[in-house]
């Protein structure tokens, strides 16, 4: 068991245990805080996959911004005080069945595909390669994403503003 395998299993455990706590915690603030080890574990998996730029962006945006946003909204609405409220609806057995089937299906299909060797070398300097990709072949996706950010910014401010 070399270092990479050890790191992978540790990070995978962090991700899955964190994810389990997110969906199972009765206390909503605990669930939101459990997002932090989950997302940090995913960032660690990106490091193992030689994706340093995506790692930094994942920590910066997911852990640093989205988790904070979720915590803010939980603290501003009743989620933090409704600890006696039932958090699970009546669809639990059906949901277990559906999710179980889906996961088994994924695992069976994905693990049977013979993923071949990579078609070329991985670029050494990640941010440069990503930047070039965004500006030359995928510039349309880049521009459209910027428009989506602008639209969602304006929309969120308008929707969440106090009346008058």
């Amino acid at each position: 068991m070399n270092a990479e395998a050890l790191a992978f299993y540790a990070l995978a455990a962090m991700v899955l245990v964190g994810g389990f706590l997110v969906v199972q915690s009765r206390n909503l603030v605990h669930a939101a805080i459990s997002l932090v080890p989950t997302l940090l574990g995913v960032a660690g998996l990106y490091v193992l996959l030689n994706a340093e730029f995506v790692t930094a962006i994942q920590i910066l945006i997911y852990v640093g911004a989205i988790t904070v946003l979720i915590l803010f909204v939980i603290l501003l609405t009743e989620g933090a005080t409704g600890l006696r409220v039932r958090q699970r609806n009546e669809q639990v057995p059906l949901a277990l069945l559906v999710c179980g089937t889906l996961v088994v299906l994924f695992l069976v299909v994905l693990l049977r595909v013979p993923w071949g060797p990579p078609t070329g070398p991985m670029p050494a300097y990640n941010p440069g390669a990503v930047g070039r990709s965004f500006l030359i072949p995928y510039v349309l996706a880049f521009e459209v994403t910027s428009l989506v950010i602008l639209a969602s910014l304006v929309g969120a401010i308008v929707v969440a503003r106090r009346e008058g």
């Binding site: 603030v29 605990h30 910066l60 852990v63 640093g64 803010f72 603290l75 300097y125 941010p127």
Partner: protein
């Protein structure tokens, strides 16, 4: 080299805040025309040691019906986040814990982890003043991350790399970049002051407003961890400012008789503590902003200025 860097990091990142607490008191005393602590040790040098011993022997209280797990975890998260970003700071040529090729982006990412610790600490104290302080502090830190990120981007644009070592090696910048660099440096200093919750941006922990803000309920050792995190973040931001804008470990002349490593470290420490002195000077000179003025400054002034600066920097790079 990595071992040396790790040792320096330990002394600087962990010992630094201890030294800074004392330095703050002495500098504030000097600015206010009085003498600071002078009884413990020669000129009061051992004051922090005495303070630490006092803190260690105080009773550690967890508030009634507070969330114990989160209450304990919050200061740990803040302190760890403040220490993790020292990994990419170069102390001397070749002395850096790890030269990540996404260095300054990693720094920005890890600094944003402190916000979660502060929010959690504010909520887990089961105290409405702590909660308000935590929410205000989180709002302030999140708002000032944007101008901070933009000024880091300006530096990355002008030097073409995200790695801290290569940024130090690329300085001094060519002359036609300087207007952009100066604006970026000023924005970075203001944003770093706000990120570290220092005056003039320290409303979340102002004594007269919210008791002590989000760490009202934290008794000694946990409070010490929060302070470690805060002063550690301040020192790390000063170190990054030195690395990005002041030339890192490069000095105007080589010190005689010592190797390049020690020479680099001396210049680096001198510059970093000069920046820290400047920030403390600012702290004891200005009054504090109100929360709405603070957020206004970030969103309506700093953000457009830094965005325009990035545009200008891009144009300058293209024009050569």
């Amino acid at each position: 080299m990595v071992v040396l860097a790790a040792v320096v990091f330990t002394f600087l990142a962990v010992g630094g805040p201890l030294f800074l607490v004392l330095a703050e008191r002495k500098i504030s005393a000097w600015i206010q025309a009085r003498v600071g602590p002078k009884h413990v040790g020669p000129h009061g040098i051992l004051q922090t040691v005495a303070d630490t011993v006092k803190l260690l022997q105080k009773e550690s209280i967890v508030p009634h019906r507070a969330d114990v797990v989160l209450f304990t975890a919050a200061p740990v998260l803040v302190a760890v986040a403040a220490l993790l970003d020292w990994i990419v700071i170069p102390f001397a040529p070749g002395v850096i814990v790890r030269d990540l090729n996404v260095g300054i982006l990693y720094f920005a990412a890890v600094s944003s982890l402190t916000v979660i610790g502060i929010l959690t600490g504010g909520w887990a104290s089961n105290n409405k003043y702590s909660l308000l302080g935590g929410l205000r502090s989180a709002a302030q830190m999140v708002s000032y991350e944007l101008p901070l990120g933009f000024s880091l981007l300006v530096v990355a644009t002008l030097t073409g790399t995200l790695s801290t070592v290569r940024i130090v090696e690329a300085q001094p910048y060519p002359a036609h970049f300087y207007p952009s660099v100066i604006v970026a440096a000023v924005v970075f200093l203001i944003a770093a002051t706000a990120e570290a919750n220092r005056i003039p941006f320290d409303l979340p922990e102002a004594e007269a407003e919210l008791v002590a803000g989000y760490f009202s309920e934290y008794t000694p050792m946990r409070f010490a961890l929060f302070q470690l995190g805060e002063y550690g973040a301040l020192l790390a931001s000063s170190a990054l400012f030195t690395t990005l804008f002041l030339g890192g470990w490069k000095g105007p002349f080589a010190l005689p008789g010592v190797g390049p490593v020690v020479d680099g470290m001396v210049w680096f420490l001198l510059k970093t503590y000069a920046v820290v002195f400047f920030l403390m000077w600012v702290r004891w000179t200005y009054p504090r902003f109100r929360i709405d003025q603070l957020l206004n400054v970030s969103w309506k002034i700093l953000l457009p200025v830094s965005m325009a600066n990035l545009l200008v920097a891009g144009v300058l790079v293209v024009l050569g």
